[in-house]
Symmetry: C2
Subunit: 188 residues, 2 copies
């Protein structure tokens, strides 16, 4: 009865996500999204409601991409703390695009919107962070008989460290990042 869409929502969202990842939320305009996604504003609004809708889908897309490219590997590994360390190195590669580090989209968003972030956005962020922290805890439990309290603290430590790595990767060179990662895991 009705005409078919000329685009696949998952495909155009991936392109939107890349744009948000490079530019941030506020600095990315709907006109830029139009060009990058290759569809008209009408299509954007009819598929995703508004700019925030596009962003929320982009966050979900980022979660999927991160899961596929680096998180699944962490999940599968039985190498304990070393698996987490490897995840840190994997993250740097993951966030790099032609020698430009884009950081982590989630961290970028926290830093840009902070506590004034909309509730739906916030829930995506918390969702993502909880997932990663859970895996860190899982891997920390593999190594030795640390008590739950120590593991909890170390997981918090690693979460903050990862955010530092995200920001720092935008300015620091590889050597400095290596220094950071090596030192981070020295005490664990």
């Amino acid at each position: 009865m009705a005409r078919k869409k000329k685009y696949i929502e998952e495909e155009v969202i991936e392109k939107a996500m890349e744009l948000f990842w490079r530019n941030g939320y506020e600095t990315t305009s709907v006109r830029m999204l139009e060009k990058e996604m290759g569809i008209n504003q009408f299509s954007i609004y009819s598929s995703f409601g508004n700019k925030k809708g596009v962003f929320i889908e982009s966050l979900a897309c980022y979660r999927g991409k991160a899961k596929h490219e680096i998180i699944n590997k962490l999940q599968k590994s039985t190498d304990g703390i070393n698996a987490i360390k490897q995840y840190f190195y994997d993250f740097i590669k993951f966030s790099k695009e032609n020698r430009l580090n884009k950081g982590c989209l989630i961290t970028n968003t926290v830093n840009e919107l902070g506590e004034k972030a909309d509730q739906e956005i916030m829930s995506e962020i918390v969702n993502f962070a909880t997932n990663v922290r859970g895996l860190f805890i899982e891997k920390l439990e593999l190594n030795n008989k640390k008590n739950t309290e120590t593991i909890r603290k170390q997981a918090n430590y690693l979460m903050v460290s990862l955010q530092g790595l995200s920001v720092a990767s935008k300015m620091f060179d590889q050597e400095q990042l290596d220094d950071f990662i090596e030192n981070t895991f020295e005490s664990l």
Copy 2:
């Protein structure tokens, strides 16, 4: 011969800085600056040239404020690594405004503008970072006979950690931040 200014540039810049600190660069409009600084756009442009000019002066103002409120204390301290640890705790207080953590203006800027930041802005950032790293090195040298290479690595480690703290302070609670700081200094 000529009329006097009704405002003091240092005073209005401090207000601009607070706004940029809360909102970021791009999201802060000249109209918002007008209101916050309490002067007309004409005055803003005649005193600082353009929006970027206001921002650069704001960065300098931030540097001064940070120096006065937390960096000088670090500089004076002879407590080695503990002085740096105290600096981390001081930073959290420094960045807090009515229970809202604004992070570090420098880190916020790096995260927002990344490598595409204008050269003058970049130079303020590098200037600031170099200063802090220098102090970290100074304090690390106090403690024990570490070789230069180790100290350099540890300074890099601390610089990235501090950026993590800046971002994380926007979302994490005090307990998690404490876990992070305590763990950070455990290996040093």
